[in-house]
């Protein structure tokens, strides 16, 4: 699953004046022609920087996102659901591997990315800092968080960087199962006993506020954002993604007789846009900066896995090994 809502902050590489104008023109012309950029091509510093950041955050979101669902494998009701939940979690961890490799082609080592995740230097999708209290929470994640992720990933697959597109193509193919599996699980509860309906409604109520922040705050339309869109790094605005998500999934929630815990949520017939209560962006900022219910646990669990596995990796290491970046 994908932590959408990348906040593209200005960097010291924003100043394109320092780039070779001829090379920059050639690079921009290639993207304008609809061609992909491959790792050995010349690229502006800003492009490299922002892509590393975006793909790395995406990778971290997959690996941390696997934790709340992973914890439900043993408690999933019935053997078939255990198998499916396990397969989904394995897919998500696989997505992280694909994405780490794609980011690596741009020059940041996997060692550095993993260290930065654990030390809180790089972010992952903020929604995973919230707990999954019940099996129904896990189902809401499988359905609606993955649905949000797919909106993002489908858009990004059309981006300009070859290795990221290749990874996303495989990821999107696998996500089709996640979405259907999650939907099926939610439908099962929603069409079940009153207790089951109550459970799934409670989980939806808990997850709705984080889901509404999933795509991030409205973009500030700066020249910076405009550059990243022209370079096909950022493929759609955060608000457009949120609108698309609401369009696709609110009707699917309503048809099950479930309610969305936002009295202001409605589609404006004139504008065709969804109206909703503005998410609590102060809470979003507070949680993404470390002060959420599960931040500490997520990182501690990840760190323990890294630390406890270190001796195995060390024992396996071939002393003659030589690092080469992945090719594509």
């Amino acid at each position: 699953m994908y932590g959408g809502g990348n906040v593209f902050e200005a960097t010291k590489f924003d100043d394109l004046q320092t780039e070779d104008p001829a090379k920059l023109a050639e690079f921009e012309a290639r993207i304008a022609r609809g061609e992909k950029i491959e790792p050995t091509d010349w690229m502006p510093q800003l492009y490299r920087k922002q892509l590393i950041r975006m793909i790395e955050q995406h990778a971290h979101s997959e690996i941390i996102g696997a934790l709340p669902e992973g914890t439900w494998i043993t408690r999933a009701p019935g053997f078939r659901r255990k198998m499916a939940q396990m397969a989904k979690v394995q897919d998500e961890v696989g997505h992280a591997q694909l994405l780490y490799s794609a980011a690596e082609t741009l020059g940041k080592s996997r060692e550095q990315m993993l260290t930065d995740l654990i030390n809180g230097k790089s972010k992952y999708s903020n929604v995973f800092n919230y707990p999954a209290f019940t099996w129904a929470d896990s189902n809401i994640i499988s359905w609606l968080i993955d649905a949000g992720a797919i909106v993002n990933q489908m858009a990004n697959a059309k981006g300009s960087y070859g290795p990221y597109s290749r990874a996303l193509e495989r990821i999107c193919a696998e996500e089709a199962f996640h979405l259907k599996y999650g939907h099926d699980a939610v439908v099962h509860l929603a069409t079940g006993t009153p207790k089951q309906r109550e459970m799934v409604q409670a989980a939806l109520n808990r997850w709705w506020p984080p889901i509404m922040t999933f795509f991030g705050p409205s973009d500030k339309m700066s020249t910076h954002t405009e550059t990243l869109m022209r370079w096909k790094v950022k493929m759609a605005s955060n608000d457009d993604c949120r609108q698309q998500f609401l369009d696709m999934y609110v009707p699917k929630i309503w048809e099950l007789g479930l309610t969305v815990p936002d009295p202001n949520l409605k589609k404006n017939a004139e504008t065709g846009q969804w109206e909703y209560t503005e998410p609590d962006w102060d809470e979003f900022k507070r949680v993404i900066n470390g002060d959420g219910p599960c931040n500490a646990e997520r990182l501690a669990v990840r760190r323990t896995a890294e630390e406890r596995g270190a001796w195995v990796r060390h024992a396996l290491l071939n002393p003659k090994a030589k690092y080469v970046r992945p090719l594509a």
Binding site: R33, T71, Q112, F133, F177, L256, T259, A300
Partner: protein, 211 residues
Amino acid sequence: MSLKSLDPRVTRLHLPDGEVPPMEEKPALDQFETYEAFHQKKESTPHAYAGPVHAPNEDVAFLFAKEQYSRRFPCVSLWVVRTENIQVTPYANDGENVYDILRVEAPATQSEQPEPYEIFHLKKRGKAHTHVGRVVATSYQEALQEAKNQFGDKAPIVNVWVVKSKDVLQSAEDDKDMWATTPDKKYREAIAYKVMDKITKYKEENKNTPA
């Protein structure tokens, strides 16, 4: 105080709660070297680039590649190559033939023994390299020259990878049964979930009760 989780197994790890010192920087190669994997989806199609894996050696790379790239979709054969052993040409523009812009130089050192090389073409940027065939040569340069002679007319070709055949770890004919059960695992196929039937039935039954 140790960390209390909703998951008792996490609680039992007795992880420290509150501020923790940063983890030490990982040493170089903590995540091993890289390998590139190629998969064949069915007998009639060529091997195509699947993606990279990190592994401590070729055999483990093969296992990781099998999990990562042939777990979910049909596969009949898998190749793994150390990234270091792949020679890469520059990338041409889409629509062009990279062999036309390459200056294929005469090999600097002539090794005595000709040996087979595998040739992979990329037809379009952003797509995957596919195996086009094998040439026999005494060096990478000569292999590239040979590849141009034999496969150079299959334009567009935007990039070429050249690998010594001996550097490719290939799954054996006997290995094919490791993919035999892939189609049985229906629970990870989207089509296994017949949601619409349940929803229709639910709507039918609740027609008269307002939500």
